[in-house]
Amino acid sequence: MTPEDIVTGEDAVTWEDAVTHPLIEIERVSKTFTTRQGALVTALDDISLRIGRSEFVVIVGPSGCGKSTLLRLISGVLPASSGAVRVDGTPVTGPRGDIGMVFQRPALLPWRTVLSNAMLAADVTPMSRTEARRRAERFLDLVGLAEFAGAYPGELSGGMQQRVGIARALVHDPKVLLMDEPFGALDALTRDHMSLELQRIWMEDEKTVLFITHSIQEAVFLADRVLVMQARPGRIVEEIAVDLPRPRTLRMLNSDAFGEHVAALRRHFENEEAMSEPAGGHGAVLPVPAKEAP
């Protein structure tokens, strides 16, 4: 498919939006690391990418292909070796505080209550306390944790902690939400529910989301567009638009249309030499240990 194949509606988010009003622009970006032994590792090789406002883009790819590195370039914590990264038209030169980040592990501060964790932005960004509190309460409510505002992270389950992390990432009203395998450490059932919740939050808040996962099912379920990456050197080798209607439901996991998208992606991985190892379990898992929803 090419962008021309898609007819755009008024408010639909499409490739065309991504091309004409990109929120994130990545132009011919490469990233090379020097290891301790002095060897050079090309984590990203000549990557170009545009992501539109309110688009939900999912990246899949084998371990070590540079997915996390790409997110770190966008968040500004890591400089690119060459090429340009722009967010909302301005070049990324360092961390700016307008990025929301969710990691695989919740990374909550255990000495703060849930509410105080969600309000972290008030302490580290110019945001005012009252505003932070208002938004933190709103997003905790949105992730279903309003009644746990006074609890400490140690008193919550892994899934609940991760939801606090998502609320926290949204409180300072970031332009982009970057999610690095946010559900990777959760069990299959919780994972399904988290996908649903994330979709709901995204539809309500209309954030631009860049989401990394090892699960093809999760990718198809969440994405407007799936980017497939390849390792050594890290490259984007394919883009697949997912035109399933929203809101997507767990029932759709069994639909033909959903199955076709999954099959298309899986077929791609079967062709890729780097990923030709047998995928265990559900079949739609990349050759990386990852739990898959039943």
Partner: protein, 277 residues
């Protein structure tokens, strides 16, 4: 985009009741406590009954009841009070000084690589010096008053606190630090909101070692030369071959150490409440 038709998917497993803060359990003696007390009583009884039979010289090893009596009369008459007060003063002031300097310097060294590079060799070298060996020197330079004791106690307390503060500041989880980086939080904010908090666990570990050492420091400093203090009392009574009183002082010192250590641990537990002990 509308979300209204979407119901809230809340997995049953995560819709738990809000946690009730667990109140501290009351102390209820179990059989291990009973066994412990029984063993202690047996040892004391054996000591009291067997040593005279074996013909152990009472001027060298006193009997438990004599020690208890010496302790009781010494406390009741107020004899011990000046000594206890003096040692407590040395320990508390020295510990406070060593702790504050240890935490302060530890924070600077842990936070600034340059300072770390410059100071590290000296710290390592100083650490190799047995601090108690310097006690006579301090006495000569600083006199036989409170100051020389206080400085030795502070020095001996300083190291564990300092070393633990430094490693504590370097021990924050990488994902917490990455989070602060993403927010664009500067050095001070990262220090204040993440590093310092994580370091607290280590700081209290260091303080706990330090408080035990500080009593040792005070006693050694008093051995070198002092009018008052439990260490001085031990020397005084030792010369008079009053071994019961010597042992009574040792018991008092042990109680003091145990008490201070418990206090530090208690404050530590309250401060770093998020770590399960």
């Amino acid at each position: 985009m509308s979300t209204r038709q979407l119901d809230r998917p809340g997995p049953a497993a995560t819709r738990a009741v809000p946690p009730v803060p667990q109140s501290r359990r009351r102390f209820r003696p179990d059989r291990w406590h009973v066994a412990g007390v029984a063993v202690f009583a047996a040892i004391i009884a054996a000591w009291q009954l067997l040593f005279p039979l074996l013909g152990v010289n009472e001027a060298l090893v006193p009997l438990p009841f004599d020690v208890a009596e010496a302790l009781w009369t010494g406390l009741a008459s107020g004899d011990y009070l000046p000594d206890i007060w003096e040692t407590l003063k040395e320990v508390l002031l020295g510990f406070l000084l060593g702790g504050v300097v240890g935490i302060g310097l530890g924070a600077v060294v842990g936070e600034f690589r340059v300072v770390d590079r410059i100071l590290s060799p000296y710290v390592v070298a100083l650490q190799a010096v047995p601090k108690v060996a310097v006690a006579p020197l301090f006495a000569v330079v600083l006199g036989y008053g409170l100051t020389s004791k206080l400085v030795l106690v502070a020095l001996i307390t300083f190291f564990p606190v300092f070393v633990n503060t430094v490693s504590g500041l370097k021990g924050s989880p990488e994902d917490q630090l990455e989070l602060m980086r993403v927010y664009g939080a500067g050095r001070w904010k990262t220090f204040r909101h993440v590093k310092a908090r994580n370091a607290l666990v280590f700081v209290f570990a260091g303080l706990n070692i330090g408080v035990t050492l500080s009593v040792i420091g005070a006693v050694v400093a008093e051995f070198v030369g002092a009018q008052h203090g439990l260490g001085a009392a031990i020397l005084r009574d030792g010369y008079r071959l009053d071994s019961a009183r010597v042992f009574a002082s040792i018991v008092l010192l042990s109680l003091l150490t145990g008490l201070l250590s418990s206090l530090v641990q208690f404050i530590g537990r309250k401060t770093v409440f998020w770590v399960s002990h």
